[in-house]
Structures are given as structure tokens and as C-alpha cells.
């Protein structure tokens, strides 16, 4: 291992990844267990010429982020469950108005005030469906401190390229733990900003897409004057009630993110080649699964892990490919069963899907997953 490793806390890695990407505006509101991200940004941004502001609540925080993004700056906020709930309206606004921004949710146990310092994975569905209406949803799920850094940075790449909000979702354990991180020059490179219209164009239509379905985005005050609204709008940005126009842009907004896998590998496979049982898990549950797999294999159970790194859009194709190749899928998650529904849906009945879940404020431990694997083995008499 190279000596360029340093110990980093998950939340600090998040701030570092954002800064590496070129984020120069942060607006946020304190909430455990995400506050370290805000504190790190408050410390580091000014010397980089960036702006940090603590806003009066989470709604104002994401609003300020969107305003800064319209001004041409890469911008981010971070929160946890209760704040994530408050931010849903503006996540929808950013998606509708196609404004790049990154929202980090360090999940704590809910519902409601829940357990501020305890981990959970209860916001997995909310990250996709929390805002009203049909929106494109890009949610990344890192499972290590190094991956928090890399996926936060990638969130900016995705957000700027696809002109859409991107959520980085991890749990309190990942956020507060410290692991060694090896930095490479590549992982510290600033990421490209949004495609801007050529300055020579006579007119600018803010929602006129290029061939890839993504409209170039001018900065406010850069010479073009245009309208941005959360109302259903046409290519000029003006409100419309024409069904054909509305349908076109609705579809385009959702479809435009299709090429996200160019930027982030959607899943990671671990020991799946000869597996009879597959675990599907994210974040700290995936870490527990990896340890459980080591012990299970020592006991003769052939098990592997399919770990979504891009949680939404859900890796349907990977599940569909996996389903016929294994005899059971065990979904390990720290909630009462959320991702298991997606796996069931994607598997289309081709394979039994079992839930291994925990939602009591304690981390899901390898022993519990191991017990699920043994039960699945007995049930299916799988060698």
C-alpha cells in the first residue's frame, strides 16, 4: 500500500470530494450526523475563494444552492432525514428547472426525530420518491470513506452533465468512521461544468435540448436573459399548458440521465461468479455482507454480493441478469424492507427474494446476515 494514504472521516471525505470536484458554494443547516460536512466546508471554502453560508433552515439551504448554481457555481448542501424531508420540494424544483446541484443525505434512524446519532438506511425509497411528481432521480450510495470522496465528486460530474440534482446517500456509520484513503491525482481533478450555450448564438432557449436531450445552461447575468420556473414550461422556459409540450419535456427530463453509467459504474460484484446465493446491499450493510461472505464461504456456503453504487435508477438489469444464476437473493438493509421491494420487482419472480433487515438504531452486523444465509441454505438445501 502506498504511503500516500491518510485517515479521513467519511463526512470529511465528502467535503473533500466536493471541493476536488470544484464545488465553491455550500449552504446548509446543522443536523446530526451531517454537520461535519458543513463545518469542513466552512473551514475550507473561503481560502479557495468559495462561499459558505449557514441558512435559516434546510429549505433555504437548498434554495440558496440552486440560486448559486444559476449564478454559475457548483453548489452543494448536506443534511439528514428530517432535513432531507424538508428539502424534497426544492429537489423537485431543481429537477423540474434542470439546475445542477448536489444534496448529501447522511442517514440516521427515523422516522421523525428518531435517533440522531444512530445509523439506518430508512431513506432509500424517499431518495427516489420523496418529491411530488415524476422527476429524474440520480442517487449514489457509497460504502467506504474512499468511495464517499469519489462518489461525491462523481455526483458533481453527473449533476453538471445532466442538468439535474444528484443525491449522495450514506449512513451515519460511513459518515463518522475513519478509514485510510489514498488520493490520486485523478481523484482530485476538477470535474467539467455544465454545457453552456455558445456566446455567439443570437438567441437562447434555456430548455431547448441538444441531441442528447440536455439543454445548454447559461449563467444568469452572462448576456442571455431567460426565465426559470417550477411551472410546467416550454423550451423558452415560459409556462405552458399544452399537453404535447408538457409530455415532451417530462419525458426528456426523465430520459436525459440514461447515460449515467458512462460516469459511474452502477454496481460492484463481489464473489458472485460461482455464487448460489446473492446478497444485495448498500453502504454499511454491504460491508457487513462482505464480512459475512468471508465466514459463509469458510462454512461452505457459496455466496456473493451485488452492491448498487448507483441506487437510483435502480440496477434492474443487473438484478435481471443475476436472478437466473442464483437460487436465492438476500437483501440486507437497515430498515423494515425497502430495497427488497425493488429487487423483487426487478427479479420478476425468477428467484426467491429474502429480506434481512434491522431497524433498531444498531448497525446490521455480519452475524445477522450470516444467519440469513444459513437459513436460506437450509430452506433451499443449497450447497
Amino acid at each position: 500500500m502506498s504511503g500516500a494514504a491518510r485517515l479521513l472521516q467519511g463526512n470529511a471525505a465528502c467535503a473533500a470530494g466536493a471541493i476536488a470536484a470544484g464545488c465553491r458554494f455550500y449552504a446548509g443547516y446543522p443536523i446530526t450526523p451531517s454537520s461535519e460536512i458543513a463545518e469542513e466546508m466552512a473551514r475550507r471554502l473561503p481560502a479557495l475563494g468559495g462561499v459558505f453560508v449557514q441558512m435559516e433552515d434546510e429549505m433555504a439551504s437548498l434554495a440558496a444552492v440552486i440560486g448559486a448554481s444559476l449564478g454559475g457555481t457548483k453548489a452543494m448542501t448536506a443534511t439528514s432525514g428530517p432535513g432531507f424531508s424538508l428539502m424534497q420540494e426544492h429537489i423537485g424544483f431543481a429537477a423540474m428547472a434542470e439546475i445542477p446541484c448536489v444534496i448529501v443525505n447522511v442517514m440516521r434512524a427515523g422516522p421523525s426525530t428518531g435517533l440522531p446519532t444512530s445509523p439506518a438506511q430508512g431513506d432509500m425509497m424517499q431518495a427516489r420518491w420523496g418529491t411530488h411528481g415524476d422527476v429524474p432521480s440520480l442517487v449514489l450510495a457509497p460504502a467506504s470513506v474512499a468511495e464517499v470522496h469519489d462518489l461525491t465528486r462523481a455526483a458533481f460530474t453527473l449533476s453538471e452533465r445532466f442538468r439535474t440534482p444528484v443525491v449522495v446517500l450514506y449512513d451515519e456509520v460511513i459518515g463518522h468512521m475513519r478509514e485510510e484513503v489514498v488520493h490520486s491525482a485523478a481523484s482530485e481533478q476538477e470535474v467539467p461544468g455544465r454545457r453552456r450555450p455558445p456566446t455567439t448564438a443570437p438567441a437562447y432557449r434555456p430548455y431547448e435540448p441538444d441531441a442528447d436531450g440536455i439543454p445548454p445552461m447559461a449563467d444568469f447575468g452572462s448576456g442571455y436573459r431567460f426565465h426559470v420556473t417550477g411551472l410546467a414550461h416550454d423550451a423558452r422556459g415560459y409556462p405552458t399548458q399544452d399537453p404535447a409540450t408538457i409530455a415532451t419535456h417530462q419525458r426528456r427530463r426523465v430520459d436525459k440521465i440514461a447515460a449515467f453509467a458512462d460516469v459511474v459504474a452502477p454496481t460492484e460484484a463481489f464473489a458472485l461468479n460461482d455464487a448460489r446465493i446473492a446478497i444485495v446491499a448498500c453502504g454499511i450493510a454491504a460491508r457487513a455482507a462482505q464480512e459475512a461472505i468471508g465466514e459463509a464461504r469458510r462454512r461452505g456456503i457459496r455466496v456473493g454480493l451485488l452492491r448498487p453504487r448507483v441506487l437510483w435508477p435502480f440496477p434492474d438489469a443487473a438484478i435481471r441478469d443475476l436472478a437466473p444464476a442464483v437460487e436465492t437473493i438476500v437483501v440486507a438493509e437497515m430498515n423494515l424492507g425497502q430495497i427488497v421491494r425493488e429487487v423483487e420487482r426487478a427479479a420478476r419472480g425468477l428467484v426467491p427474494v429474502v429480506s434481512c433487515s434491522r431497524a433498531d438504531g444498531e448497525p446490521l452486523e455480519p452475524e445477522q446476515i450470516l444467519a440469513s444465509l444459513e437459513a436460506a441454505t437450509l430452506a433451499g438445501r443449497i450447497a
Partner: protein, 186 residues
């Protein structure tokens, strides 16, 4: 090698900082590390706990369950984590403050806080003495790496005293190890 080390004590004893330094030193020395703070019953009532896993192999699950080495500065901290010790584990307690539960687990009772007081004039660097002891007992975090990390993490004005506390702890640990080896017990 793979070691799970738990530092435990009262809030305000610098347990979290010590865990951080230990983990950082191990990372500096090229090992895989995972450091987590307390959650769960061990963290309530003013107690503080820091777990550090140090390994030559990548660490899958970063949470400590069965621990190889427990350093406990207070009675409460010792009792709460005693059952997590592996049968082959080692407990290091502050002999002046902690009466460990009976059992077959090896236990070194060392004057951790007293050593801090004697060497630096204050009981505060007891956490650094504890790190030194760990250093003297295992090669998980080499002295040079620990010294560099301590220098990064303590105020410059108190660096010299902290390094003395570290060395005093290391000598304590090494001496106790030598004694134990001489006696032939594990």
C-alpha cells in the same frame, strides 16, 4: 495481522483523540484501518469509546465486535466492554482505578494516569500514555508513525510533553510484556 483495539474511558479523557491518533499512525505505517466511535450502551453516561481495527488486509466490516485489546481508564469503561474481549484478548487497565472482573482473560494493570501525572505534571495525557502502552505491546502502530501523528494532532506548545508521555507509555508496555514473556504466560 489483524487487531481490534478498543480505547475506553470517561468523557473528557481524550479517548476519541487517542483512537484517531492510533488509527492515523497505523494508516501512515501502510496498514488498513477502520476507526469508529461509540454508539450503543457503551457511549452513554459520560463514557467514551473508540474502536480501531488495524489489518494487513482490507477491512470489510469496520465495526468492532470481538476485541483483541481493551485499554480501559475507568471502572465503568472496563465493565461495559469486558464481555467483548476475545478469550485470547488482553485487557490493559489503569491499576489505580480499575478492578477488572474476574475471568481468564489476560489483564495488565498499569499506572496509566499516574504515569501521565509523573511524566508531564498533569493527568490529561493519560490517553497518550495509553497509546504508548499499545505501541509497546504490538507493532500495529510503530513509534515513529505515532510520534508523527501526535505531532499533527496536539498543540505545538504541548508536543514535547505529549511525546514524553508516549515514550513513558511505550516503556511501560514493553517492560510489562518482557516480564510476562519471562514468566512464560501468554
Amino acid at each position: 495481522m489483524r487487531l481490534t483495539i478498543r480505547l475506553a474511558g470517561a468523557g473528557g479523557q481524550g479517548i476519541a483523540l487517542a483512537g484517531l491518533i492510533l488509527a492515523e499512525a497505523a494508516a501512515l505505517a501502510g496498514r488498513h484501518v477502520a476507526c469508529t466511535q461509540a454508539y450503543g450502551p457503551e457511549s452513554r453516561g459520560g463514557a467514551s469509546r473508540s474502536d480501531v481495527i488495524i489489518s494487513d488486509e482490507p477491512i470489510a466490516y469496520p465495526g468492532a465486535r470481538r476485541i483483541d485489546m481493551l485499554v480501559a481508564l475507568t471502572q465503568v469503561a472496563c465493565e461495559r466492554s469486558w464481555d467483548a474481549l476475545k478469550p485470547t484478548g488482553l485487557a490493559i487497565v489503569d491499576g489505580d482505578r480499575v478492578k477488572p472482573p474476574s475471568g481468564s482473560v489476560s489483564c495488565f494493570a498499569l499506572p496509566i494516569v499516574e504515569t501521565a501525572r509523573v511524566v508531564t505534571g498533569s493527568p490529561m495525557p493519560a490517553n497518550i500514555v495509553a497509546l504508548g502502552i499499545v505501541c509497546g505491546l504490538t507493532d500495529a502502530a510503530p513509534l515513529a508513525a505515532l510520534e508523527e501523528t501526535v505531532a499533527r494532532r496536539v498543540p505545538a506548545s504541548s508536543l514535547a510533553l505529549n511525546l514524553q508521555a508516549l515514550e513513558a507509555g511505550r516503556q511501560l508496555g514493553a517492560a510489562r510484556l518482557a516480564t510476562t514473556a519471562a514468566r512464560g504466560s501468554p
